[in-house]
């Protein structure tokens, strides 16, 4: 292997000796035990097999030292099993043995978690350090980014999007950029990720172990009370549309794992996100309640006079709003259906003074109650 300088510190050696006094170590390619009769430490790594006295522990080959610092970091410095699993994922631990990983960590290993780019690097003593920035800032000069040291700052960074709009769904792909956590510990990187994308690591970890508990739409329907009882009447077909509308990767970075029920899969794409979504979130439930109200209406046949271009224009306006591209349309780009001047022109031409398309009343029988909205629906 390449010569990696992994000097073992007194603290690391003491922890190693103390652990071996209790029990043998087997971790990530390292096997070690203490032979009390011979007063010798037997250490086995893929390339070396040694037996040394306590005094000579500090002189083991660089390869073995790397395995020992790796053991020390993961078992003595990282606080919990979930954090350990996450940090190991961050450095692709399952794919590469320790020496290769140490080489790669010298340059930094990048991984993406939602819109976060997390880079793991290595200090001489084997301690990992973590840098977190927005994926869009991957190539940004660090001087141009606002530096943060407190992982809980991530909460505030994630509250508003780049336009200053509130992000009620923290897993929406609208995280603002321009910030940097240059140097976090393992515990801190976990807290930062938890603040950006709450509970995603723990659910990912459950999934990794084959223990992800999924609550499907029908479970959610059964559980609701109060104003959300209404989702029990949402037609199944509408759940299809709702998931396609809300859970698509363009709207939410979680990978939807819930279905109508265990035996009734939904057709909509669940997405490719790293972390799973194990049950309908409160946004989707609240939206489902609105759609349940709207779906109570019957359809009606209307007659409209439109030119073919006008019909297409209306369709393209809907696309522009749904795909959030309205802001990209240039002021004078009259080719674009959702251009403001084009839309204003259409309104002048086709809407009457009451805002009715083609002068066609919404409710010909004169009933102006739109039936879809009731008021007192705030529970906040």
């Amino acid at each position: 292997m390449s010569a990696v300088e992994s000097d073992l510190s007194e603290i690391q050696l003491a922890a190693f000796r103390e652990t071996l006094a209790e029990e043998p170590i087997e971790y990530d390619g390292l096997a070690a035990e203490y032979d009390a009769d011979e007063e010798a430490y037997h250490i086995e790594t893929p390339e070396h097999q040694t037996s040394v006295s306590a005094d000579d522990l500090g002189t083991v080959a660089a390869e073995q030292a790397a395995y020992i610092t790796n053991w020390y970091f993961y078992t003595q410095q990282v606080g919990s099993e979930i954090k350990r699993a996450f940090c190991r994922w961050l450095e692709l631990a399952e794919d590469h043995p320790v020496p290769d990983r140490y080489d790669a960590l010298a340059a930094g290993i990048d991984r993406e978690w939602g819109q976060l780019r997390i880079t793991t690097t290595l200090a001489d003593d084997g301690t990992r350090r973590y840098e977190v920035r927005h994926v869009d800032d991957s190539d940004a000069n660090t001087d141009t980014l606002t530096t943060h040291t407190d992982p809980f700052d991530a909460r505030d960074i994630g509250t508003l999007d780049a336009d200053g709009q509130y992000r009620p769904l923290r897993t929406a792909p609208s995280l603002d950029s321009g910030w940097l956590f240059p140097d976090l510990t393992a515990d801190e990187v976990y807290e930062a990720v938890e603040a950006f994308y709450p509970a995603t690591v723990v659910n990912w970890h459950r999934e990794q172990r084959g223990e992800l508990d999924i609550d499907h739409w029908r479970d959610e329907q059964d559980r609701q009370s109060g104003i959300y009882n209404l989702i029990t009447v949402l037609p199944d077909e509408a759940v299809e549309w709702a998931t396609a509308a809300c859970c698509d990767d363009s709207q939410c970075l979680k990978r939807r794992e819930w279905e109508l029920s265990e035996d009734e899969p939904l057709d909509a794409d669940g997405g490719d996100g790293v972390f799973p979504c194990r049950e309908p979130c409160s946004m989707v439930v609240a939206a489902g309640r609105e759609w349940a109200k709207l779906e109570r209406e019957d359809t009606q046949t209307y007659e409209f006079e439109l030119t073919p271009s006008e019909k297409e224009q209306l369709e393209e306006i809907v696309d522009a709003v749904a795909d959030d591209t309205v802001d990209e349309i240039r002021e004078a780009d009259l080719d674009e259906s959702a251009n403001r001047y084009r839309v204003r022109y259409l309104r002048e031409k086709r809407f009457d003074d009451d805002g009715n398309l083609s002068g066609t009343p919404t409710r010909p029988d004169g009933d102006d109650n739109d039936g879809a909205n009731d008021t007192d629906d705030h529970d906040e």
């Binding site: 919990s80 809980f152 909460r155 509250t159 508003l160 509130y166 009620p168 769904l169 923290r170 897993t171 938890e194 994308y197 709450p198 509970a199 723990v202 659910n203 459950r206 609550d215 559980r223 009370s225 109060g226 194990r278 049950e279 979130c281 409160s282 946004m283 609240a286 906040e380």
Partner: protein
Amino acid sequence: MQSLVIVAHGSHLNPDSATPTHTHADTIRATGAFDEVRTGFWKEQPSLREVLRTARGDDIYVVPLFISEGYFTERVIPRELRLEGWDPSLWDSDGISADTATLVASDIDKEVHYCGPVGTHEAMTDVLVRRAESVTGDPSVGEVSESADSEARQTESDGGFGFAVVGHGTERNEKSAKAIEYHTERLRETGRFDEVKALFMDEEPEVDDVTEHFDSEDIIVVPLFIADGFHTQEDIPEDMGLTDDYRDGYDVPTTVDGHRIWYGGAVGTEALTADVILERAADAGADIGDAIARVRQQTKPTTLVAGD
């Protein structure tokens, strides 16, 4: 290992709804009284459904950052946290005396201590007083003879203050009015304020007519709400006549019908609320050392607070 889990409502619309929860969590985290402090929300992430799995402790204390007992504390939270065998009678409460119940949360197969809401704890009265002090900028407000800084009150009256505690009313939740009445009575018992009254948004006596309910020239008005939102920032200031349009803001105090109104906004944003969360956990058996004393000291206002 000891974990504190603060659960709150949150909002899809208002980014400030979760702010007090996060701020108080930070305050408590800084005391080191718990190995970890987690937050969970009905409307935000992590959801109430998933917050317990983010907690690692052997001893988990769940404190609802809610004003009163009722639908959320008795039904929604226990259901979403999956507290096995929960029944409101376990709290043995008369509507304001819920303390704690210990139940297994099936999400994590561990026992958790489910505490009563912050709003009905007696220490919440102290937070109302603290808000009166911070909104007037006078740590002795109401105590006429001891008032350190009568000028800060800008008052030419005899220095006495009225205090209005504002709540929703019974329309939404009968027990929410109980919490208001409870603190109103406790404030009255302190004898510090000349008049203390409970006012409501959607029933008599209404906050709209605040000046009719008080003789005192100076009236402190504090809504018993957890977070500022459209009720506390828009409705109440407009209803009381502090401003025609909340977007224009208002002065503290604002003179209305010859009374100076010192409007304090939602009491839950007062830093001392962190203390009530600690009290709830301590009452449920959490070992928090001198954290309560430290939070009380640390959250003392050092500067004047303006209402808008």
